[in-house]
Each structure stands twice: as C-alpha cells, then as structure tokens.
Symmetry: D3
Subunit: 337 residues, 6 copies
C-alpha cells in the first residue's frame, strides 16, 4: 500500500520544474541502501487492464491537470502492439482506454496505429509523444497532443533504423533536442546514444554523439529512458544498458548527468547500475530479466522521483528515489574505473 503521509518538504532541492505533491510515493524501506527502491505493490499495471491484452509494459506517465495521464504500450493477444491513452488520479491505479491511439497523418491518409516504447514530453503547451514506429523498419515517430484525445503525427522525422527517441522538455539554444539510439531492423546487439537537433521538429541535423557502450552492465547497448530531468547541476538522464550471457540479454537501469547547455556533454555517468532485475516479475515473463525505464515524474518541491519501468516486457513497475541523492551517487562514482 502506497503512503503519501511521510513526505517532508526539503529545504533546498536540485530539481527545476513544477511541484507534483500528489506524486506516487513510498519511503525507502528500513535497512535498504538502494538508491532506487521498488514500490511494494508492484506491478502497478498488468494485462488485465485492457481486454484481449497479453501485456502492458514499457509505458510513459506524466502529471496532468492535478492527476496523471499516460501513453501505454499494450501488446494484445495477437502479440502485436499499439499505444493506448490511460488516466489516473494517484499514478498507481490506472484506467486504460480499450482502443488504441490513432495518430492523424495528412489528408486522405490512414492514421498511424502501431508502435511501442512511447515517451511523453511536455514542451510549451503541447505534449509530444515519441515512440518506435514502423516506417519500413523500426524508427522514431513523433506526434503531439494537447488533450490526449487527438494526436497529430509529424511526417517521418527519422529514417530507419532508430529507437528510443527521447525529447528534452524545452528548447536549448533555440533548438529542439532529441536523444536517440541508432539501431538495426532486428534485435540489435549494439547501440550508443546520440543527440539530434531541430528548429521545427520536422527537419533534423547537427547530430552529436553523447555516449557509448562500456564494459559491465552496459556492454551490449544503451538507450535513453525517461525524458531528461532538469536540475541545477545538469540534465539527469536515466537510461538502460544491456548485458548478455549464454542465456540472453539482461536489461538494467543506470543514470548520467548531462550538461545543461550542451547536453551532448556527459558530466557524470554511473559505473554502477541503478536497478537490475531481481523481483520475480522482472526475472520471469515474456522476456525474462528486463527492467526498462520509460518515464520519470519529479516533484520539484521535494526532489522526490517516481520512475515507471517495464518489467519482463509484461507489466509496469514503479520505483522511487531522490533526485539529489542520485546526483550525489553519480559524483561518488567519478573515479571508478
């Protein structure tokens, strides 16, 4: 059971942005030294929320009008996927719409309806959805909405093959910026994080390399997770890294701090992982050994953080932490080789 009582107002926080006092929250359990800790009633979302669903997993939630809204990856029992809008008052109990989002394209063209691994980013008064689209191969689709009822598609902004497109929540130096992970048409046994720039979200260029794979938990590939969190010290990026064994991939969560003005510059990066598959619903499921972070909601007034992540491509879990603690933890790892 989630408790909201015990949230003290911290005097000084690092987070920049709105207060979200109704953020889902549980204090760190006693005896636990983890930087990020799981909600004790995980998973918060399962296939049961949508008729004919096989799984609801890698999904994006965001604060909206005093409650929460989200774009959810729903795999149905054909084992194909689409995106659905969902609504919640407390960020834990969700009502997900039974029919998929239809992204409006141009006149006389059919809407786009397929996709997976959505992110939602508010820029100005629009909410942008970026996800893995199928434009003759997996690549990033972008659309926007103001009301989470009508979504407008921006014509193929990326060529294949790309995944994990993650926008920054404001223009920087007059440009929209998007993290992304160039890939291939298959299961992609490689991958580094790049940053692309645009003046209009339609044409993209001046691409930058941000960071690449490293040994350990991120030796196969990495990809950006939630929309970066603006703090006084830089953009806090939670990302996933992949490790392999003779029995497949392990998806694990890590973090980095990017420069505020030149966010392709990495100030700190975690040698240690933030969270790795340990809970039963993370270890077993459609794709065993996966935690895949997709959204992060921050209460800037208190630095409290709730991370939404997909588990084993089957369900959604939530984990909690403090923005300031994570940044401190990143700094402590500076000299780790």
């Amino acid at each position: 059971m989630a408790s909201k009582k015990s949230v003290p107002q911290k005097k000084s926080t690092l987070s920049i942005g709105a207060a979200v006092p109704h953020l889902p929250w549980q204090e760190r359990p006693k005896g636990c030294a983890d930087i990020l800790w799981r909600y004790d009633s995980n998973p918060v979302i399962t296939a049961g929320n949508v008729k004919n669903a096989d799984a609801i997993s890698n999904s994006a939630a965001i604060a909206y009008k005093g409650g929460f809204v989200g774009v959810f990856r729903v795999d149905d029992n054909t084992r194909l996927f689409s995106l659905h809008t969902g609504w919640s008052k407390d960020g834990l109990s969700w009502k997900i719409e039974q029919t998929p989002i239809k992204f409006k394209v141009g006149k006389n063209q059919p809407p786009v309806v397929k996709g997976y691994d959505p992110r939602v980013c508010k820029i100005g008064d629009r909410y942008y959805v970026s996800w893995c689209n199928d434009f003759h191969g997996p690549t990033i689709g972008i659309a926007w909405t103001k009301d989470f009822k009508t979504y407008t598609f921006i014509e193929n902004a990326f060529v294949p093959f790309n995944r994990n497109g993650v926008l920054f929540p404001r223009k920087i130096n007059g440009r929209y910026m998007m993290l992304n992970r160039p890939s291939d048409p298959g299961q992609t046994a490689f991958g580094d994080i790049f940053l692309s720039q645009s003046k209009d979200l339609v044409f993209w260029g001046e691409h930058k390399f941000v960071m690449g794979r490293r040994r350990g938990w991120e030796k196969i590939k990495i990809g950006p997770g939630p929309v970066p969190i603006e703090t006084k010290e830089g953009w806090l990026l939670i990302y996933h890294g992949v490790f392999d064994s003779c029995n497949g991939f392990n998806y694990v969560m890590g973090a980095a701090l990017l420069d505020l003005n030149e966010p392709w510059k990495v100030k700190y990066r975690s040698r240690r992982y933030l969270l790795a598959p340990k809970a039963p619903y993370e270890l077993a499921g459609r794709v065993p050994n996966v935690v895949f972070p997709v959204a992060a909601i921050v209460d800037a007034a208190t630095d409290r953080l709730a991370v939404y992540y997909g588990a084993s491509d089957s369900v959604v879990g939530v984990a909690f932490g403090h923005v300031g603690e994570i940044i401190q933890w990143l700094k402590e790892q500076k000299d780790l080789d």
Copy 2:
C-alpha cells in the same frame, strides 16, 4: 480439485464423435473471460511419475475402455528421451510405465526406442502413434497398436527432416491424411504446416500446403498440435506458434478450422492466441516460456474439451474449453488483420 458435477448436457453440439462423460473437467472460473482455462491443480504430471526421469512433458492422452491411456514423452536424467505408455481412470492421475515403448520393426532388426512429442490417433480399431523419430535426423515415425502393449513400426514413412506429424482420425476421400511440419536438423527457426496423403500409411504423396507463419505470436514457426477434432463445421485444429525475443522463443497455442473434405483449406484461423505461458510452471523450467499442445479429448455429447499440453518442456498441464465457443471465437476474428 477437479469437479465433474456441473456438466450440463447441451442440447446441440458441434462435435462429432463419441461421448466421453468421464472427461476431466472444471468449469471456467468466475470472472475469467479466457476461451481456454487452466486446470487449477496443474501440473498434472511431473517427473516424479517415473524413476530416473528428468521431465515428463509433451504427451498424448486418449479415451480408452472407459478410462484413459496415453503415450508420454519422458526425458530421463541422461537428458535423452523415450516414449512410455501410461494409464489413468480420470485423465488427471496417471500411472506411467517405468520402461520405454519398444516399437517392433522387421525381423532381425532392433526395435525403435527413442523419440519425442508423440500423438495418438484412433483410426478404425487401431491406435496410431506418430512422433519425432531419429532416422538419420529428426523425422516422423509412425506405429500402431491395439492394446498399448505391442506397437508395430511402419518402415520409415518420411525422409528427414520433419516434425509434428499429426494424423486425421479417419480416411478422407479414401486417403489417410497427416499434417506435418517440414523442418531442419537443428532448432528450426522456420516452419509451416503441410498435409500429406497416403492410401496405405506406407507410401505418401500429393502433399498440400495448409498454412504458414504470420506476424505476431506465430511469426517464427507453427506446427499442428492434437489430432484434429471433427465438428459439423470442419476440423478444429489446435496448433502451436512461436514468437521470438532477444531472450529466446515463446511457444503459444492457437487454433484453426479446416475444411471437412479438403482439410488443406483453412476456413478460419485465430489471430489471437488461445493460451500463452503465464503460469509459473510455464514461465520457468528446462525451456522457459513454453506451452505445447499435444492432445485434445472431446466429449461430443457436451462439446467439452480437455487439452493436454507440455509446459516448459518439464511437466504436463491440462486446460479446458468448449468446442463450440472456440469455433465461435474463430469466426469473430475473421476480420482481424
């Protein structure tokens, strides 16, 4: 605990065939909308039934003399496999013979003793076993018995490489017919369903293509499961489909309705899966994420259906359904893309 009390006699059924009033059975649990539902005391068979066994999994049960008999895939603790006869009164509690079946070949030749994934099909007064034999590579072996004590092998009816040979329970147009799935010597990352014909079960030809892989849960390969169930509307085929991820294969169950007289013609086919690995004994085991349907027993008087399936190549589970409901569910999916 299985209950047989609550089985009402339906006025009109679609199934053609014998009544099997002692069919193992449980009503659909309240609140469950699944077309096929699991027996609540699954798994019904585990390795403990046979000495030195490592696993008893993909196995075929059939009604026989007021009870049930079956041919079981037993992997022993050398991790090699053989087929064993088993007996049951209620179809749930089984006594499996400790020594493998020895299929008699010709004079002065050693019997065939190895194999896996058996099906049992009654045609006339003979019970035919078809299974994955090793004739210089995996292929389909066929043998017959009348008493489940003596089994006679039919000389190499198929060249390698083939698996999942499934006979129809009667001649059609004067010919025996067998579904099969051509494959390769390894783990076979492809596979479609064909139908072969014979006048004598010895020489086979006039092969037909029945159906191929499709996207979604059956994108890697498909293979026929239990002996097709004759109904007024066609042959109901339960089959398996395979989906892959970065962490291996998922084996899932689906269904199709084949034309009664030209059973290579597919009338309906499920876009949705019937059953996918969700239970702990399906998600973890020797081969995680496997449900593999092998036998179906129907009580034609009531349309009730019990499906025997291997789970995670480790144990045997049973699931229940109604033939008429499944056919209705297939029809409802007609327009799904």
Copy 3:
C-alpha cells in the same frame, strides 16, 4: 576440337544399356593420369545460347533419336531461373529454346515454370524430369514427357525441403526408386543421400539411408549427380561433395558403386575426388569453385562416359572417362581410410 575417330571398340564392357556411338568424346590427353578428363574446348554451353540469359549451368543431357536432347537450367538477367529444352546432334553444340518449359499441372491450374538443377531419366518410353521445384520452399518436382515438347507435372511428390532428386532408370523389385538429399530452405550446410521408393511415382515411402558426409572433400554435404549408370557390378553413382573454407564452399565430384538390387547398399565409395575445380571457368564465375555433375551419357558398347557438369553456376562443361576404369579406381580405394 572434339575428335571421335580414335574410339576403339572394347571387347568386354561393364556398362549395361544402349550403344551411343555418337557420344561426344576425346581421348585422355598424353601425360594425364586423371580418371576423368575435361573436354579441351570447355565450356560447351554459355549464357550466349539464350537471349537475356545470365548463365546456363547445371543441366541434363540425354541421348535421343540419334542425337541428344536436354533440360537446361537457365538463369536469366533477373537472376531467376527456369528450365529450357535444348537439342544437339553431337552433344557439344546445342540449340536451346528461348522460352522456358511449362510443366502442365491439373485443370484450371497454372503451369509450373520455375526450377533448377534438372535431371532427365528414361524409364520405359517416358522421360522423367526431376528438379528443384519451389513448393513453399525448395523440394523435388517430377514431370514426364515423351517428346520434350509437352511435360506433365506429378502433383507435389515431396514435401519441402529436398533437393537433387535422381531417379533410377528402371524399376527395381517392382518399385521406382529415387535418390534425394533432404535439406533446408537456405544454403544448407549439411546433407546426406537417401533413397525413396514408390509403386506409382505419386506416393513415396520406405525411405532408406544410403550414405552420409565424410571428412575431406565431402565434409559439409553430398548429393547425387547424374542418373545412376547400370553396370554388371552395380549402379555407378557420380555425386557431388562439398568442402568449406573461410572463403566459402568448394563443390567437387566423386563416385560410388551401389548394389544392383538393393541400391541403398554402398559397395564402394571414392575416398578421392573424381574432379575438383581447377579450370578458370570453374574457379571464377557467379559462384566460384564449383563443379556440379548433372548428367552422364554412356556408350555401353565401349564403356565410354561423358559427364555434363555445371561450372561456377555459370556454364556447362563436359568431362570424359571409362566406366570400367572408374569402377576399378573405386575398388583400389577400398582400404583407404
């Protein structure tokens, strides 16, 4: 230039069958110790023979009405293939028809027109063509003709995946027999030779294993080549074997002697190869390092043999030998390990 003058009539020959005095022929060059030697004006057939052809390679020639006829594998400049009839007086200079063979199927069904690697076998008064067809994957197609103008297809006699179907030129023990090499849908890095039996060329069964890969030039796979040559000592089979290196496959020619009445029994088999790629047109071309034997014409009166083989999947070459010498050479290798 081929010379036919110097052909002495041998007193006693091993070959059984018709005299073919007009067999293309050149004596073994001086100083050459090879068992099989190349025609000095090879290649005898190139793409130039057919308009829009890219290559004419693995093809079958047979003596016919005082001259020769053949079924040719023509790859056109779309890089797809079909079979064409061709005619020759001397077996060296050929006129190949510009349009592909259309194999008649049943009523209201389109003819079969695609395929490759044909063999032609005379049984009684019919000429049977067997080739690699595409019936939802590569497998053996069979058709017959009497005049090489109209060809009638026998409905799918084999399920996928099979290649190199080679008929025996007469019934044995009342059964048609066909050598074949079960394979897979791709480029098949394995393969052994089997024999299948039929009473009517429609239904096939009682399959036998004939011989498998061995180390050396045949370590990856083997497949039957020309129609077996009947001799007093057994069926002489010329076959191909495949060796691999870091730079791909080498296709090489070898031979075996099969039992006359039970032709799945191997009496002798060559440890040494008969012919390997050495000539420039064998070493370079569309697929380098390939000699692929497809047809053998024997003059039974003199034991002379002409072998037609595809070279580098690009052209057709001819090589010559003496049946008796080859059998003697096989016997000499009996003790080679």
Copy 4:
C-alpha cells in the same frame, strides 16, 4: 582505344542538361545486344595511380571546365581508405592527387579525412560531395567545394547508420533531396532506398520510402548509384543490387525511372540487371564479383552516357549507353513479374 569520332547528333534526346561533347565514348561493339557495354580498355584506373595505394575503386567523376574532375576512393596498403581529388582531360586517363582530401570542419577542430564511396553532385555553383563517413559508425557525410581544392564539411547531417547518400542535382519543390540507404555497422545483409528532404542541407526530415529489395539480382539489398540523371520522362536512377550465394555476395547494376516532381515515386524499374560481373577484373580481386556504379556523365545533346563503376573493390571501369535506350528498356520490362 577509345574513339570519339562516330557520335551522331541525335535529333531529339530525352536528357536534360549540359552538352558534354568530350564525353569518353565507344560505340556498342558489333553483335552486342547489351544495353550497357564496357570500355574495351578497362580498367581505366588502377592502384598504380597513387603511391602506396592498394586499390582505387568506387569513385565519382564529373565534367568540369572543359575536362573532368573526380573524387576517388583510394585504399592504401594499410587497407584503410581516404578520398583523393583527380583530374582528367578525356575522362579515361587520370592524374590523381597523392594526398587525401581534408574536409574542413569548424574552428579548432581536426579535418575529416576518412571515407569511401563518394558521389559528386553539382547544385548551383557548388559541387557537393557525399560519401560514407565514420561518425561513430558508418553514415553519410556531406561537404561542398567550388574548386576541388578546398572542401567544407557540413556538420553531421545524418545519424549512423547510413550509406550511399546521393543528392539530386537541383532543388525540387524548394527542397534539397537525397537518396540514401539506411544500414547497420557491419556488412549489412539488408537495405532499401529512402529519400530525405532538407531546406538547407543541414537539417533533414520528411523522409520517404522509395523502393525495396526484390527477388532475383537485388534480393539482399539495393542502394542508389550515380547522381540521378534528369530526363523529360523522369529521373533516371542507376543503382546496385546484391544477390547472395554460398560463396558470398554478387554486386550488380540496375536502373529505375523516378517521378520528376515526387522522386520517391517509381515509374519504372528494371527486372533485368544492366550489368553484372563478367569481366576478369570484376570476377576476381579484393572482393570478387562486384560492379558498383558511382558516377554517370551524360552528354545531353546526344543522350550518350558514360558510367563509372568500381570493380571487385579493386579498380575503376567505364561502361557506355544511351539514356533513351535505357528508358525504353525499362518500359519494356513493365509487365515482367
């Protein structure tokens, strides 16, 4: 020896653009029915042109100031590659600079010096070079020059992984357009052609799918070749297609006609190949069986065409044709399946 005498001025041509009367040229040989025919003194450029070179292959030539200039792919004897400027009066005999091109990047940044497979496209008074760059993986680099002495790099216009960036020689609908072939970091066993748009050559978007692989000579992947040739009927695109065998890839040349105003629409496309490896310098070399078209020079006054292509990744060859004939040949294939 190349002859320029026999070039009649055709009354009406399809080509749009400048006359290039000094185009290298040889008439089609007698008896040759090929649409494209090779220069009889091929290869025109070999490694001998540059000190320490291992190979000079996939290179771009263009008419310039009454002669020709080009950007050449030079692999040196470390087996790494760079681009070199080269000069020629007749387009056949070339003087290639000994030192690589250094593409100027921004202030205080080192120049870009590595790359391969360049194209050169004149738009207005600038010559744009597009090539396969290494920006944390293979992708398209773009630079421009006016004098082929100083080249200015446009900051990373594409994310990895992409190859074969080919610009159109003018803006269309106010936008620069570039064909490209998304790929992967390795040897890329897949690939289709896309078109990307830009208002400034810096930011790219509104990507379109142009055409994909098909069976036959282009079954593995395709990629655009020379800068498209503007004609009254559309943009003539010469492209490469790749076919595979057990012994590797064959690179082959084909053609398509694209819509003038919406060049992502394919009006005609060749079922047949234009040119496949047949000459010794195409069949053997560092990478056997490769013809790779990179540049096409057209004399619009006469419709004559000279295609520069890399052969076996070792040398440069030239082939000749008539633009009108090629378009006619494309139309004739309209009904080929």
Copy 5:
C-alpha cells in the same frame, strides 16, 4: 535449518584424507532418492553479503583451521567480477571481505585483481587458487597463499583460451596435474576436459585428453568442477555439462571416477546427471537454468560430502551426498549407453 546430529560414523569409507567432522550437513530427506540433495535453506550466500554486490555465485570453500575459508566470485553492481576471501565457522554462514583479493605479481607490476570461477586446492602447506583470468582473453590464472591474506601470482601459466583450471591435491608421479577446458574468447559452444602436467607449476606440457562431450545433458560442453576427491578407487571428479535448447544453455552436474595414477584415464562416468536446475533460485536469476559445482568438502571419516555450487550465476547453494554412494552409482551406470 542444518542439523549435524544425525551423522553416524561409517565403519569403512572410500575417501582418503582428513576428517572434517564440522562439515555442513543434512541427512537425505525422507522419500528422496536423489544421490545428491539440496540444503533446505539454500541459497547459503547471496549478494547481500558484500556491499555493492550484484551476485555472489561460483565460489570455492575449503576446510581451514577448524573452520572454513573460501575464495568467492563477487559480481558487483557494475557487472564486473573479482575474487574475495570469505570466512565461516560452519560452512553455511559466511563473512566475506568487502575488498577484492589483489594477487601479487612481480616487482613494479600492478597486482592482478579481476577474475571469476575460482577453485582452491591445498597441496602441501600451500593453498593454490586457480581461476579464469584475463590475459588478453580468458585463460587460467594460478596463485598461492598460506594465510588467505597474501596471494602470489604465478606468471601466465596458460595461453588463452582456457577455463576451469582444477588442480589435483597432490603431485602424481612427481608432477603437478591440472584439469582444464580449452575454450575460446566468447561463450564457447564446445569444450572437452584435458589434463596438463608440470614439474614446477610454471612450465606445463605433456597434455592429455581426459574426456569429451557426449549426447544428453553434456552435449555442448563439459568442464571440471571441484578439486578431485581422492578415494581408494580413484579420483572422484564432479564436473558440469551443458545442454542447449532454443532458449539457451542448461548447466548440469555429473561425476566421473579417474584412475589414481594415470588420472587421464576414465574408469567410470555418469550417464545420468547428479543434479540439474530445479529449485527456483536455479531456474531464474541473472543466467537462468544454471547449477555450477565449484568446491567439494569431504569428511573422510564418514564419506560425507558437501558440494558448493553457483546457481543461476546469482547465488551459492550447497548439496550433500556420500562419496561411496556416488561411486556405487557410477558403477551401476557402466552399461548404460
């Protein structure tokens, strides 16, 4: 809860060596017929024992000064590994040092600190550690200690690529002997057991083949496990074998009896496995389906045996058995094929 009460002193034992009366122990559960049975409070060691650890798995324990000491494989939360010393009184509850072992190399050279899968072997008064080192690829490192505080490295005794180096606990015929499993730099889908000899533990030669893969549970590869146990009948070797499925590898435990004086001669070998993954902590974890035996402690006075094994590359389990029973069980399998 482990109980030590019920250990009867057997009159005659097969084991040669010291009594270890404080051996961790539980009697075989009632109704259990297994030769090796699990400790009922497994796992005995988890990641919680070391700060920042992700897993503690394949580790070696040995009796030492009335208690136990061990060398532990600790994977930290960077997902890199090192070896740590650990101490225990009862062999079940362990205190593991927080910092890794630093193996001293020569003067002015940095210590070796990385590695995994250690074994510990007492020879004379030294304790030798052998493990998988990284000397330009995985290979066997050897070091020695007397006090488990200071460890001295023996200069690169093996070239890459080798794993699972396991010393015999005394010289045989004047030579140190080490079992080992030549491998490759990756995940090694092959592997047989060899024996290497040395007069000084520095220079190695006169290598012998001991035993290779076989069908069944050991069809992919095998590798020696704990230090061989000396008995009156030979050296008892517990080893691992690997079986594969479409969903990855299964690591399983078996046993063999080696000749006392010529230990490359195999007297008996198990057709059946000793222990396969069945417990939840063996079926799911970082690498599902792994039991990996590393150490065996024997109480020679009673023939009791405790085996330490890594489970799912995540934790350490203990299993119990009787040396004499295992040898008897090996003999009973002599005629199994």
Copy 6:
C-alpha cells in the same frame, strides 16, 4: 627464369647468420617500387609434384647441406593433408617425396601423420618441425630430425586450440621460445600473437603477449609466419594478417621487428602490408585471396631474402627482398597511425 648473376656483395649487412650464396634470387624488376617482389615464374610448386595431390601450398624450406630441404603441406585428392619431405638444389625446382612423414611417437604407439602449415627451424644440430596437429582439436605439434628421414615427436606440448607455432632459431636467456596464435576449433575469426617459453621444449609457460590485431589489413587476426630472422637490430618477423569483406577473408603479409633479448617487445611494426594477393594464382584457387608466408631463407652475407608462401591454399610462390630494406621500411612507418 631465375637469374643468380646479378647479386652484388653488400659491404655491410644487418643479417646475422650463415651465408647462403645459392639462395634462389631475382633482382627487383625495373620500375617496381615494392619492398617484396614476386619470382617471375611463380608458382614454383604445384600439385603436380606429388601423385594424387590436390594442392601443395603452405610449406617450409630451409638451406641444408649446400642445397635445400623442406617440409611441405600436401593436400591430396581426399582433401585431407599431410606433411612431406622435399629436396631441391636451387630452391626453385623441388622433388617431393610421395609418402607422408611419419612422426615417431613413443613405443607401441602409432605415428602422427596428419597436419598442415609446417615450419622448420634449426636449433643447434637439430631441425625442429612445428605444425598444426590434431590433438582433439587443432594445436601445435613439435618434432625434430637431423636427417629429414626420421622425425621424433615431442609429446603433446600444447593444449588445443593453437596454430602457427614458430620457434626462434636459438635459445634466448636460456629458454626456447615459440611464437603462437591461440585460436578455436573452427575457422577462427580472431587471433593475436603470443610467445611461450620452455627450458626443454616439453613443458611450456611464462607466456607473453606479443601483439594483437589492428585495423586495416590485419583487423580479423594475425599469425607469425617464417622463423624470425636474426639481425643486428632485432628479430625480423614476417607475419600474416587477415582482412574480411562480404566475400570472405583476404590473407596478407606484413612484418615487425622484435627486441633481440625480450622478443615479446615489438620495436617496429608495419602499418602497410608487405604483399597482398594480386597475382592470378593468389586471387583464384581453392581458397581465393590468400598469401600465407611460411619460410624465409636469408643469405646473411648479402642480406638477400627469399620468402616462401602459400597462394590460395593451392600452390607455393616465392618472393624476394633485402633484409635491410625491410627494416628501413618498418622504421619509416613509425609515425603512421
């Protein structure tokens, strides 16, 4: 035709060792700037030298009693290989023995007869042969002879998997030293050069890493070639490097200079290759695109060098150079990146 006339005696040479005035030799052709140039009558050895041979390729020649002797890799027409002794007066025309070398093993054991890629090294009055043996997988075999008639095998000195064992021609610091390249059982897509040490050629240890792959012509793997050549400036090592393309491997020749006393230290190493496949017999053959250096004979009086190399795994070629020039050329590359 080889000419020996024009060999001037150089005043000062770098080579240390015996004069070999009868060294096969041709001066560098006019206009040729290559550091190593081919004998103009290559190949010097072909399959024709041995009955039933398919190829004679990677072979080792050495000066002996005023002429030359060698150990030859002979692949016979079973496509298996063995080693044969050969004799020559001029090093160009060779008489190769018809029967393979039988390496004597211990009493009552069969001799070793298989192997490939031999090197021959004189140390003291013994000639050591090292080659790729098959001891349960490819590894290095060592034997010695004094008369090239009787060869004595040293018991399995290396565990699998290793290839290209190359001895130094004298002890260094009291130890025999051998270069080697750890590999795997297959075609080995990786490989670096190590150095192993021994006091007795039986037991080996204190292994050192010498050098690894680098980008360019040696990006896949490298391996030592001929026995290192002692010079005043260090050991001159000619080695092979492997480059890959979509059509397989290219084997190329390079060089390095190793420290005289600590030969695992690399003083200079070639960024450029010494010789790459360019001649027809190198580009086409059993394995296209291979030059594989195996032996080098130096006339220390004049610094002249003759290198014997296998070409396309089919024949033997010879190339010439000057030791001093090669070392100078290595130094010039010092600053090449």
